[in-house]
Structures are given as C-alpha cells and as structure tokens.
Amino acid sequence: MAANPDPDAALMLRVKRGDRGAFEDLVNKYKQPVMNIICRTIGDATEAEDLCQNVFVQVFKSADRYRVSAKFSTWLYTITRNLCLNEIRRRSRHPADSLDVTHPDNDAQPLRQFEDTKNPSVPETLLREELERKIQQALAELPDNQRIAILLCRQEDVSYEEISRVLGCSLSATKSLIHRGRETLKQRLKPYLRTGAWKGTEK
C-alpha cells in the first residue's frame, strides 16, 4: 500500500464506477502534458490533437481493466507512448502527402499551408520561433525512445522509475537513454546553449 495515495488513481476508480465528472477532471488535468508529448513525438499538431483524443477515449474504454498497481500517470503515459509508436509505424508504411497536392475543395489552394516567412511581423518573434523550430527539429531527430524519455523528464511529477515503466525497460537503461538523448541534443544545439538565443541576436 502506497504511503501517499495517488489522487488520480482515486479519480480513475470513480470513473470505473461510471463517474463522468471524475473522468472530465482527469482530462482537464492531463490534456496539456499528453498533448505536449504527442505533438513533440509525432511532429504534427493537427494529428496530435486527434491522437490525444484517442488516448483519453482509450483510457475510458479500459477503465474496467484499471488496477491501482502503479500511478495513474504511468498508465496514462504508457497508453500515450503506445499510440504514438503506432502512429509512427503507420506513417512509415504510408509516406507523407506531397506538398504539391491541392485541397480537395479548391484546386488553387495547397493541401498544406505554411506561414509566409517573407513578411515577418516582429523580428524577435521570428527568432524565437526559429529557435523553437531548431529545438523541435533536434528532438524529432532523436530515436523514438530517447525522445519520449526526454519529454517525460520534463514532467516534474514523473519519476525515473515511472519513466522506466512507461518505456518498458530497466531504470539504468532509462537513465542511459536520457543521458544519450541529452548528449545528442547538446551537440545539435551547441550554438544556442550558452546564450539560449539564436546567433543572429548576439551583439
């Protein structure tokens, strides 16, 4: 029996008994952390929102089988990781759409639209966005397990033991994954590490 009972596990037990209000509370608490992990893992904000919805629907469908053997967040992030990996595998079997494909309702409009970078609004905003893109790109280039481990690390309330349970590997293997991931990120983001800014702003 845990010394500090998990309040989220108590909510989930209420969901198991049919309490929709408890489920709504869990969705409101975890929707942003789950969305952050999914978005940074699969790299597509639109698909990420659908996948995020699927995570919570899966949690609801699996409520009957929920057991308080670990923290609720560990179980939730395990479902999140599994659905992310399924999506990544699905994409590897079906390559992405061509950028030249037009919208089905309007031939003059491309299927995917991107921000017009030739007309910047505020330089600092652009630079910040550029840096965020670099960080996102460096994360995307990591192996899946390293990326997910580092993203889970950002959640303060998720311990290394829980991360190892989510990833399905030992504690030492998990720490090794995180260490290797961070080393790779440090190499790729070296120009920005000291100042935390894009080189263009340095005086």
């Binding site: 929709r20 489920f23 709504e24 969705v27 409101n28 929707k31 942003q32 969305m35 952050n36 999914i38 978005c39 940074r40 904000a45 990420a48 929102e49 995020c52 919805q53 919570f56 629907v57 609801f60 469908k61 910040r128 840096l131 965020e132 960080i135 996102q136 580092i150 690390c153 950002r154 303060e156 720490k175 961070r182 990120l185 440090k186 983001l189 920005y192 590490l193 000291r194 935390g196």
Partner: protein, 182 residues
C-alpha cells in the same frame, strides 16, 4: 562548519536534478562551491543548464479550447455503441443465478422441441411421398398387370438368358456344308 565537497557522482546527481526541477538554495550553494573548487566542471554545468533552458523554452502544444468537450462527446458515443452491442448480454448478466439457469434451461427446452418438431414434419413428408409412389404403382398395375410370382421364381436364370448371345453350333454347320457340297 564547512560543507563537505561534492564528488563527481554527487555532481552528476545534481546535474540530473537541475534538468528536472529548479535547484533549492542549499543545492545551488553546493554547486557554486563545487564549481569554484573544480573550474573544469564549469563548461559541463553550463552546457547542461543551457540545454535545460532551451527545452523549457518550448511552448505548450496548441490545444483546442473545446478539447475536453470533444473528448466527452467521443466517450458518450463509445458508451452508446457498447450499450447497443451488449444489451442482451448485459440484461442476462444482471439476472440472479437461479433466473439465469431458468432462462438458459427454457431456451434449451425450446430448442429441443423445435428440433423434434422438425424431425416429425420431415417424417410426415416422407410418408406422404411413399404413399404417392404406392398409388402410382397400383394404378399402373391395372393397365399392365404384373407377372405372377411363380414366373419370377427363376428370375436370375431368365435374366441371364435375356443377356447372353446364342453360340453357333459349329459341328452342325460343318455337316451341313459337306452335304451341300455333295
């Protein structure tokens, strides 16, 4: 009392901690002391802290304002689908055991009755067909009476007679041809 200096393992532990949450005042003091005593650790600390700063710069991923409402609607649809699919089984499961056995037993009895009824109907149909054949044979025998039973006694011999071809009497043929030649 001077605080004991950190060893390398403790320094790495502190780097791990700093990657996950802000350091406490005590932890920061220990770190400053360690960096002052070990200047070669300074770039290692700066790189780690720099990476943590960059990762913390990542904004939250965009999420629709009505996301929770959409999830709740999806969950309602899922509940409705499951209740339609398992309505009968769920009703059965809610019965007390004695009523469950009674219901199952009644269903078995009905199934057995249905099977025997099917067998009875099949036999009736077969009997009706045989009666029709018998009537047909009776009607035919008035037009072309069947032979007496005694005639059919040596049926096998008569049957074979009808099937064999007569063999030529070659001795008789030889004698007749000699007579013809004379």
């Amino acid at each position: 009392m001077k605080e004991r200096e950190m060893n390398e393992m403790e320094f790495n532990q502190l780097l791990d901690t700093a990657a996950r949450r802000p350091l406490t005042a005590q932890e920061e003091a220990r770190l400053r002391a360690h960096l002052a005593a070990n200047p070669q650790a300074q770039p290692v600390w700066e790189e780690e802290a720099g990476l943590t700063r960059l990762l913390n710069r990542l904004p939250d991923a965009p999420l629709a304002s009505n996301f929770t409402a959409r999830v709740m609607r999806a969950v309602e649809r899922e509940s409705y689908r499951r209740s339609r699919a398992s309505g009968v089984f769920r009703w059965f499961g809610r019965l007390r055991p004695v009523y469950r056995f009674a219901t199952a037993g009644s269903l078995l009895v009905l199934a057995a009755l249905g099977y025997f009824q099917y067998q009875a109907v099949s036999r009736e149909k077969m009997a009706a067909s045989l009666a029709t054949v018998a009537d047909t044979v009776g009607a035919t025998s008035e037009v072309a009476p069947l032979p007496a039973v005694e005639m059919l006694k040596d049926f096998d011999a008569i049957y074979l007679l009808g099937r064999t071809r007569p063999q030529a009497d070659e001795d008789l043929l030889a004698t007749l041809s000699q007579v013809a030649m004379k």
